[in-house]
Point group: D2
């Protein structure tokens, strides 16, 4: 067992950390008051600096135009980049584009690569991933109503999706739709289809207002109606009926990246809490840092962030060395453990900041609002707990339902 | 011991409950997307209906133009009215006007009553209460820098205040300022002074953006600069140097009303959680209501709401029968206990609603954001805990610092 | 609503409180090192003092030889008496005798009253209640294997029971056994039968060792085998097949008494925690009472004990005025809420006491061990939570399983 | 970063695991009912088997008669051995002997090694470590009253110690006593002195009853009076005045071993919980394993045990590669985090077992009682939290007291 980090990775992490502090954090106050579209020129500037430093797309190998720091290296980079809500976008590793690129890299035809993947990698266009439907619980993604029926060389898609993040302004969506509804296995019914957002029948009904804001452009969650939406059959991505299998593959690594981002947020809020406690006087020349209750929180948060980081890196190592299937218990565990750690740290940091903490004069209130979803999206805590417990209990020959 | 509620009060509570459901909730979706100013005509309409039903100003005795249901009756009414963020405004019992009226009713000169109190009671003007300063911890309100110096029949006020709620659009502020800075007791240094918002030197710097919104009009938290702000000495409210004594008096009853409002919110979210669990299907024709983890939450939330309500009503009874001083332990206890109960219930209700819970398609996300401050405003949880513990420990002859 | 306590009750509570401090607590150190049998002479002495003060059997009306303070009065007395594990025995209100007396008073024939109830009331004999079976979950008491078959004027009982508290040294058991196994309703299958412990076929297999001690005499949990155990049919208690209905009746009020006892324990540990914190020096002439983390615990424990007491008294009032059926939600809520409060307070009190807290130099470690069962006995927390949640959810037309 | 375990270590861990299951667990039911002295022959038998398998003293290098698996290897072994309260004794790695051997190996003169260390390593004698005093808080061990004064070639020791574990039956104590009370640094005042338990003036006052049992022989916590207790000056262990420095050195590694033992206990209780849930039927042919609340606990316990293990192994690695000083934050963190994880898992395992869980028919109730001290001994949770928080806050230039 060996917990050290090699020097090359450390160097890159250090560069990212410095860039975040110097170039990204200063954009945040501006970001909190503006629309995303207004922000774009400034973000593009920052992106260009990243490109110049050759830190663009740290999730990708060099041959695809990325940094090439490997799976473990990128996991650690996610923590640094994740410290700001602007980080991933500026580094070209934002969801859902990064995940879509991963799928395209593995399954796209050369034509699809040229048309969709390469511009996406370069950050020239954006994309979205259209799976969740309002009528069905996200905890059971195989149940969906959206259908894609073949008709004269096309797929004709009908369905209702929501929480399609970043749909507003995206050039295309990867849509999950039932192409083989009669297949006995619910895992073999859906396919992934590339749908340009200007295809006939693609209707972005609204950007769903979440936590007080509908947002715009990249910072949105779309509700979309597919009404006889028609795309050529050549837009099928990967084998027909294999939509879930492909989605599944992407899930484990994606979880690692999300969790490292959560840790980045937790770590940043932790530092803000310490810093504010150290300087804020309360009574008789005493700062908040002298208060034992706050000291208790700091120690507990420290422990849980540390635990979170070790667990996620361990899970990443297991994926890397034994594959995602072998690591599925670890992948489930980190989802709920780390999301809860992050939200606890955010909450304590706000409490230490008092009135300032609920104001938008710091980034804390943004995280409080926008990361509450971490315990819900991508499988609620409880879904993951039940899944992991059932898997364990079956080892004891238990019936579990 | 007798926990029953008399029939007359029950009738009025029933009327309020019905009015809330029929007239107030339907305004909420509109409210969530509009500015307060845009809302005003609709709110005024609703206020008129309240006036016609003779439910206006339930906090006031009949002789002041209120409903006259007494302290306990109003406490219970607060729960019903508090179920919507629009309730108190529509019933004419909104903070900080209600508290300001209370002070004016007790301390104002006849001239002040005529000019400020009566229009306030009638809902023709609004007011604010300007105490907290950014440079000093809210937990120790006696330490402030704002001064009011006598000069040629006037007070000249200089200071910097923030979180002056509802300042935007208010006709006047009750300002807490040091008039007797040399007084040996920190509790005898400040006075309350009525400052019209159009007085020279009153500058509303900004509506502080809180949880993503700066708001407008009534729904704001102002940052204000008093720069040689000049008002006649006849604007002194109550005896000079007695600002804290007066503020203190108002605190106990005010805490009851806030806590009953918290309970109203908790109770509403609880009902939404049950209702959604009962109807939302997840797998195999099973609803969320069949899930034991959710059942566990429902039972725990039920217990804590029930405990909260009993504790607040007990504290109200003690204030009513023995005075606020005798009840100060109970008043401290409810502050942190009930705020935490409310936030726990909101959190669980969101979790049950899943993605819908973080969207603005329900009121839950509004409560999640805007009520986080309940653990901070008016003394953070930890401040109240320490205060109550020290008081208890002193009964054991403990040194406590 | 009115939270006051009448003077007469206050006087009696005061007498009990004083007696507990003066006569009962001093017996505890002796009790912690001895067997119950060795203790008996001292306990009998204390019982005699109680009888002389006319405080014997506070649970009973005067006509049955008790104090006659009514249901609410006794509930409050339970808190005082419950502060010591010796209290209830010394006051003649110990479980399971008190509950058995209640049943006998309502259902016994005159002969049964003379033979079993009156000596029990006078404290001349002891009894036990034999229901739980090792093979079946306590959460579903209607499922049991013990049978009582009529044979020549007798019942012949066969079955295996455990956690029959106080069986060792009891004169008789009230045994729950299936007499009508063919009845379609599982609630109508069992009867209560009085079984003298010297009846042929009654075998006390062992006193189950619990938390390190098997105990002796009153302080035990028996495992019993009924092997063709034969008693006359006249030993049937109440109507045949009505065992559960009778048991149910006793449950609500019994829950109140248990919960008030939990509160007594919590309150005592709370006081010990404060007292120790006030006197224990740690560093630089500072006591534990100056530590903010401990202050936080004290405030939280205070709030939860207060909440618990109000909830239990409210439930008692509801039982008293509207009957146990109307109060069943409240009765379920207090079971888990109050048991958890007690265990939390015990835990914090131990933590404050440090090494002394885990030693037997105080009573804390006894409570820690022996009251852990409070979250299990008489329906585990989770069972109660699920029951109460299902009842609530059904009001929303939910399917709940 | 690399989380794998080498094959040789895996083999030895496997051997230990198997031995624990086959030879150690079966002794437990016997152990729970007997005195330690009665157990000794059976324990000696088991020890002999360990010696034959060459697994004796896994904490020691081969040259001192141990297994020689290194620091990381032994850390992992502690988890396996710690699964039973009998494990460490049977493997010759029981506290406080193991720690005393470590000190002796580093500081003892050849004479002391021959007389005390070698028989201790071979398990022929036992020892104890006498530091904590009843009048002073364990959280500040530098403050003590016990003195050792030089007189005619001897030390004359006077003092009052308690919680001197395993004093009953020990051949000698390592006593911490002030030899240099005038030294300005409180860390340079005390020395370690070897005191044979048959030295004049050594009085074992009592075995302190802890959680209901005073115990005997190895399983005890002694209260000791040193009354003009006289030993030759050659019994000084290490340099004079360096008692704390030496104690400190031992602390970090000792913490690792304790924490791995906690994990062993947690893991065993976790497995018992799963096993029982899998087989215990509750209603309608359904086992506890089907209950979602229990599934939730299993997942949470799994996550926290996993986190604990990674944190402890990481701390061990850091001690091993960078020294205990560099790892002091990690060492503080694991103390409270892991102790709480263990106690949470024990608690949940008991709750799943119901009445059986509080009985002594399983080992759970033993762990519940005897491991409560883990949050207290060796620095209470709160002490460690405050220490770690202050160290962090000082990095932000905070005053912390």
């Amino acid at each position: 067992m060996e917990f050290g980090i090699d020097e090359k990775t450390q160097t890159i992490l250090g560069m990212i950390r410095e860039f975040m502090a110097k170039e990204v954090y200063p954009l945040e106050p501006y970001f909190l008051g503006k629309s995303f579209r207004e922000m774009k020129p400034k973000l593009e500037e920052a992106r260009n600096k990243v490109r110049q430093m050759e830190l663009w797309a740290p999730q990708l190998p060099k041959e695809l135009g990325g940094v090439g720091i490997g799976f473990m290296g990128y996991a650690m980079a996610c923590e640094e980049i994740g410290r700001s809500p602007l980080g991933a976008y500026i580094f070209g590793s934002q969801a859902p584009d990064a995940g879509n690129i991963e799928i395209l890299a593995k399954y796209a035809t050369e034509e699809q690569r040229e048309k969709w993947m390469r511009p996406l990698i370069r950050g020239q266009i954006r994309s979205c991933f259209s799976m969740t439907e309002p009528e069905f619980a996200g905890s059971n993604p195989t149940v969906m109503a959206t259908s894609a029926v073949k008709d004269k060389g096309d797929y004709v898609i009908n369905g209702h999706k929501w929480f399609t993040s970043a749909a507003d302004g995206a050039r295309f969506a990867i849509v999950m739709a039932n192409t083989n509804p009669e297949n006995p296995s619910p895992y073999q019914r859906a396919s992934m289809i590339i749908v340009p957002t200007d295809a006939p029948g693609f209707k972005l009904l609204r950007n769903i207002s979440v936590m007080g804001h509908a947002g715009d452009d990249y910072g949105t969650h779309g509700e979309i109606m597919y009404q006889n939406c028609r795309v050529p059959q050549s837009n099928l991505l990967g084998p027909e009926g294999q939509g879930f299998v492909i989605a599944q593959e992407r899930l484990g690594p994606g979880r690692i990246h999300h969790c490292m981002r959560y840790i980045g947020i937790a770590q940043r809020c932790f530092e803000m809490m310490c810093e504010y406690a150290a300087k804020r006087e309360v009574t008789e020349g005493k700062t908040l840092a002298t208060k034992q209750i706050i000291q208790g929180w700091i120690a507990e948060c420290r422990a849980e962030i540390h635990a979170s980081r070790l667990m996620v890196l361990h899970a990443a190592w297991k994926i890397d060395t034994q594959g995602a299937y072998a690591a599925r218990e670890e992948i489930s565990l980190i989802k709920f453990y780390v999301a809860n750690t992050m939200l606890k740290v955010i909450d304590k940091a706000i409490q230490v900041h008092g009135g300032l903490g609920v104001s938008d004069d710091t980034i804390l209130s943004f995280f409080y609002r926008m990361e509450r979803g971490a315990r819900i999206y991508d499988g609620a805590d409880e879904v993951h707990k039940v899944v992991v417990a059932k898997r364990i209990l079956r080892q004891y020959q238990a019936q579990v339902a």
